[in-house]
């Protein structure tokens, strides 16, 4: 709701709130600047919802009538401008037609704002994403505060939507087609400096000077005529038909290659942009509204939004049943390999002082160099500010002994995945660290209780399963052994979050959650080979289905020895007995996967070709055609079934953590929303398919109890 309680004495001369001048029955004097204050008094977020839209419409009408010299739009919320549309609104409107209608209404109001006969300026003091930035786009000028809370962009694509309040129309006209495509199709969210460089805002000023700067601009500048970017190239690509067609064609090809047809939103955004530039803004807006309705009611978008909301809620939900923990100040990491140094870097980014230990100076030097490279890369990509990057590097020191470990609140052990090695490290650590130091062990499959078996204080030893490469993978699977102290778990969850990761908490059973479900699927992919499938057919089918990488290629990446070990751990725990698997035969033949150059594929430099030797080793000649659809669905269903078992057995605390873990940790296709949401979507169809598969291929496909009962995982 626009409100008037905001102080007007803050700046001199003050801008005058539209509502107050209307209430006083007064008129604007020459040179007066009007101000619209955005504030939803009952909510701490300025999200766009029907009351806010209505209030905004009134304020714009009043402004038009009052005829000030200029108008500024500010937010009354500290550190946020307008966050975007209230996502719950979308589920409130069931039909595409209703959603399109709502979109058209917002478009009309923003059109009114854009058509005001005096200069308008948005003062962006915090997050201005999606609808919030589209509101700013409807102004003539945009000024952003140089504050860390500022995030600007049109990230609707990441939720399976498109910018539908004029974003697909106004952004190309403002910054030119090529830059707008980059922004919209990549769902970019920029800080103030990057937004300035991209042309999303016209000026960046100190937060305390923001309103002053906005008033100055509203008072001194005229209405703006957008030209499609500042450079000749940008303008040509925006307005000259052949160049524009080329830019759009290239973008489309990129999108098709990237999404493999699973994500409709980028193509629809391209369509709206194309219509707008070819047939004019009105037609473009109409296309935008129509396509938005289609997308918002699509399964893909609903799934992506659900995942997004789960991720937000998980920050709190991760502490379910635990005391609220704080991230530690001092962290020590054992093992400066790729994993250990990645963890050290993440911990330093999270704000901790980090001590990184390995056995000799050579290994330490390499580990610290990895920290430096990861951090300078992140700074080059402007993920981390340059000076902060220097501090991140400075906070990590190396050692070949355990010096600096007594001050550590948390020690993360990331040595080789071997029970004896890890037990030895735990023993050494227990002699060194303080009584209250928490020890986290990074393992993908070794049971934490086994690692902690001989420990003096097993209650402070918990699992922290990182995914490789640590700096890119957004998940940490926190593993809770039975004896674990809840305070220790809470600290580890808090640290994972400080590292910028999503934390899920799972019980300490073989393979935990992610390794177990993935391991089952990988083993099944190998069984397909024994049934006569071609290596490349299996992987291609899975990638076409929406997995980021085929299961056999992934096995090569992980390394065959690790994969074999994980497979055996998981299979033994489930009491599954089988003959030697493909991976056993391959490792017995000395193959290691990608590292050794031979696995399911042969690796020659950058080239990868299927390894024909594999067929001989498993005693099977590859058959003719393999049905893609069937292959991928079968493997993915096995994954879902195993995930459901994890929930039934209490390995998982919630379906939400199962979905987040599968998508963020092991690449389950996000457009399906995660294994549990997908099961909800498919219902009996999935159960019946599993039954059929069980009859043909065995018990592992027998639907889990929950799937059998047709339980809905989400209300």
């Amino acid at each position: 709701m626009t409100s008037t309680q905001d102080v007007t004495a803050r700046i001199t001369p003050p801008a005058i709130d539209i509502a107050s001048i209307k209430a006083a029955g007064a008129r604007f004097e020459d040179g007066d600047i009007a101000r619209i204050v955005i504030d939803r008094p009952t909510d701490n977020v300025n999200a766009i919802d029907p009351p806010l839209i209505a209030a905004l419409a009134n304020a714009i009408d009043d402004a038009r009538a009052a005829r000030p010299r200029g108008l500024i739009i500010v937010s009354a919320k500290p550190d946020q401008f307008v966050a975007g549309a209230d996502l719950s609104m979308l589920s409130a409107w069931p039909s595409a037609m209703e959603i399109s209608q709502a979109s058209r209404q917002i478009q009309r109001i923003f059109n009114d704002l854009a058509a005001l006969p005096f200069p308008t300026v948005a003062a962006i003091n915090g997050s201005a994403l999606g609808g919030g930035y589209e509101l700013a786009l409807a102004c003539d000028w945009r000024i952003a505060a140089d504050a860390p809370s500022v995030r600007i962009g049109l990230p609707e694509i990441s939720l399976g939507l498109l910018p539908a309040a004029g974003g697909t129309q106004r952004l190309p006209r403002l910054i030119g087609l090529p830059r707008a495509l980059d922004q919209i199709l990549n769902a970019r969210r920029s800080n103030a400096r990057r937004a300035l460089r991209a042309g999303l805002v016209d000026e960046v000023v100190h937060p305390a000077a923001l309103e002053r700067a906005a008033m100055d601009r509203a008072g001194r500048r005229e209405k703006r005529k957008v030209q499609g970017g500042t450079s000749l190239v940008d303008r040509a690509a925006t307005w000259l038909t052949p160049l524009r067609a080329y830019a759009l064609r290239t973008a489309r090809a990129g999108v098709v290659k990237e999404t493999k047809g699973h994500y409709p939103a980028p193509l629809k955004a391209l369509e709206a942009i194309t219509v707008g530039l070819q047939q004019g803004m009105d037609a473009g807006l109409e296309a935008e509204a129509r396509l938005f309705g289609e997308l918002a009611t699509s399964e893909v978008s609903r799934n992506l939004i659900a995942l997004f909301l789960l991720g937000l809620a998980q920050r709190r939900a991760a502490f379910e049943g635990l005391p609220r923990g704080a991230a530690p100040n001092d962290i020590a990491v054992v093992g400066a390999g790729l994993m250990g140094s990645g963890i050290a870097q993440a911990a330093s980014i999270g704000g901790a002082t980090v001590r990184l230990r390995d056995v000799d100076t050579g290994a330490v030097a390499k580990g610290l160099d990895t920290v430096r490279k990861l951090t300078t890369d992140a700074s080059r990509k402007r993920v981390i500010e340059r000076r902060e990057a220097a501090r991140v590097i400075s906070r990590v020191t190396g050692t070949t002994d355990y010096s600096g470990f007594r001050r550590a609140d948390l020690v993360i052990e990331a040595v080789f995945e071997d029970l004896a090695v890890k037990r030895n490290v735990i023993k050494e650590l227990e002699d060194i660290v303080r009584e209250d130091t928490v020890i986290a062990t990074n393992t993908s499959a070794l049971p934490i209780a086994d690692i902690a078996r001989n420990a003096m204080h097993p209650e402070r030893i918990v699992g922290m399963h990182f995914f490789s490469p640590v700096h890119r993978m957004p998940l940490v699977e926190v593993v809770q052994p039975e004896k674990a102290d809840p305070k220790a778990l809470a600290m580890v969850v808090a640290e994972a979050q400080a590292m910028g990761k999503t934390a899920i908490v799972v019980r300490d059973t073989p393979g935990f959650y992610t390794t177990r479900v993935l391991g089952f699927m990988l083993a099944e992919a190998m069984l397909l080979l024994e049934e006569g499938a071609r290596i490349e057919d299996v992987d291609k089918a899975m990638v076409a289905f929406g997995w980021p990488i085929g299961p056999l290629a992934l096995t090569d990446e992980v390394g065959l020895v690790v994969a074999r070990h994980v497979g055996e751990t998981v299979a033994a725990a489930r009491g599954i007995k089988s003959g030697p698997s493909a991976v056993q035969r391959l490792t017995d033949a000395g193959m290691q996967g990608k590292r050794g150059g031979r696995g399911f594929y042969r690796y020659d430099g950058k080239k990868r070709t299927p390894n024909a030797d594999v067929y001989a080793l498993i005693g099977m000649a590859p058959g003719a055609v393999w049905h893609d659809e069937e292959t991928a669905r079968r493997l993915t269903l096995l994954f879902v079934n195993e995930a459901a078992r994890c929930l039934d057995e209490g390995v998982l605390r919630s379906a939400a953590e199962g979905d987040l873990g599968a998508v963020l940790g092991v690449g389950f296709p996000p457009f399906l929303g995660g294994p549990f949401r997908w099961a909800d979507t498919e219902g009996v169809v999935m159960r019946d398919d599993l039954r059929r598969l069980a009859a043909r291929f065995g018990e592992r496909y027998t639907p889990s109890a929950s799937l059998m009962q047709g339980r809905r995982f989400y209300a």
Partner: protein, 419 residues
């Protein structure tokens, strides 16, 4: 809040330094702050001290970088120390880190801090090269000028010769003599022959080599990790040098009659050293052991035109007097070796003035600046670290550290091993 003037005993909890290497070698592309960060972060880690437990940072540095003006503050911000603490850079040429340590000790004594990081760093690989005053003033004028013609006019009286860069001064401003020339005159005045100087230099290298061989020096040095490699040892020590080899070197400062060579002088060096100081009360309450107290200290100064580097011969008796001790109570001495001639001159003058005769066997038992190197800002902290560590190892009660400095300054610090 502790009331001021509550006299507390300041103790050295521990200290570490980077390997010292010749300027222009392994650390050539490192800023002095990079070196300071390594020594300081390591001292915190090795003493198991959390960043939040540091009350202040006092740091010495001589050849100051132009990018920032207070290296101590840069250390605070880079290492995640509390942002609200006192952080000051101090300078007394080669005795800068002595000043850092005694300043921090004073703060602890009066109770304005209970823990402090003190030390110093130097990168003689990266000395700031400046313009001539004429050109510099013209540039400032031009930057203030409003119009292009005015900007152009700013350079009117700049000559071609003004375009040559200027390196930091190495001559005493009051005498026009370089450090080496001053040391040559000290050698003459005190009649220190070339052979005695070379002998002292040889001893410095042999002791340093022994200190590394038996692991004592390794205990005060942290590896410096850089670009996937590590520097683990001091770079200048010549364990295999001989009196003959040293004798072959030509005098540098007075080619005709001189005695001072590259062999019996300290080299230009990059490095950093940091100590952690605490009040005895706090150190004990944290259960820390092996405490070495700052028992007393003194600074003295002489006319640079006289014997430039002789001030320690005056500071030492003063510090001893303040400690209530005499030279015979001291069982271990760390003396900065700017030149062998300066060390031997100091012994000579001490004895001549009646302070007592120095037992050479207890001086620089793991070598001195001639062998280890001499990063100006860091040397004072290196002396205190080496001395405190060796006092603990030998279990001696009293030790003495001293350093001479450009301008005629000298420092002496008396340490006491606490039971």
């Amino acid at each position: 809040m502790t009331r001021m003037a509550s006299i507390q005993k300041a103790v050295v909890v521990g200290g570490w330094r980077t390997p010292f290497v010749k300027a222009g070698t392994d650390y050539a592309d490192l800023d002095v702050l990079d070196l300071a960060k390594v020594a300081t972060a390591e001292t915190l880690a090795r003493t198991e001290t959390a960043a939040r437990d540091v009350d202040e940072v006092v740091y010495g540095n001589v050849s100051r970088p132009v990018a920032y003006h207070n290296i101590a503050r840069e250390i605070v911000l880079a290492l995640g120390l509390p942002t609200n603490i006192y952080a000051a850079s101090v300078g007394m040429a080669c005795a800068s880190a002595c000043v850092a340590i005694t300043t921090a000790a004073d703060h602890i004594a009066v109770g304005t801090a209970t823990s402090a990081l003190a030390g110093g760093a130097e990168s003689l690989s990266n000395i700031p090269i400046t313009y001539t005053p004429k050109l510099a003033r013209a540039l400032v004028r031009a930057s203030q000028a409003k119009t292009l013609p005015q900007k152009a006019a700013s350079f009117a009286d700049v000559r071609l010769s003004d375009l040559a860069p200027v390196a930091p001064g190495i001559r005493e401003t009051s005498t026009g003599l370089t450090m080496g020339q001053s040391a040559e005159s000290m050698a003459s005045i005190n009649a220190i022959p070339r052979e005695a100087q070379d002998q002292w230099a040889l001893r410095s290298h042999e002791n340093a080599a022994r200190g590394w061989a038996d692991g004592r020096l390794a205990q005060e040095v942290t590896p410096l990790y850089r670009n996937g490699k590590s520097v683990t040892k001091d770079g200048h020590i010549r364990g295999d040098t001989t009196i003959e080899k040293l004798g072959l070197l030509r005098p540098v400062f007075d080619r005709a009659h001189g005695t001072i060579t590259a062999g019996n002088a300290s080299p230009l060096t990059d490095g950093a050293a940091t100590v952690l100081l605490m009040s005895e009360e706090r150190a004990r309450s944290e259960g820390r052991t092996g405490l070495v107290a700052i028992r007393s200290y003194a600074y003295a100064a002489v006319d640079p035109a006289d014997q430039l580097l002789i001030a320690p011969a005056y500071a030492i008796p003063l510090a001893l007097e303040r400690a209530g001790l005499s030279l015979s109570d001291i069982s271990l001495i760390e003396m900065h070796e700017a030149f062998a001639a300066q060390v031997l001159s100091t012994f000579h003058v001490l004895e001549k003035n009646g302070a007592g005769r120095i037992d050479e066997d207890i001086v620089n038992v793991m070598g001195g600046s001639i062998a280890l190197g001499h990063p100006f800002g860091a040397t004072g902290a290196r002396l205190v670290i080496t001395l405190a560590n060796e006092m603990r190892r030998r279990g001696v009660q009293f030790g003495l550290a001293s350093a001479c400095a450009a301008g005629g300054n000298g420092a002496a610090i008396v340490l006491e091993l606490l039971p």
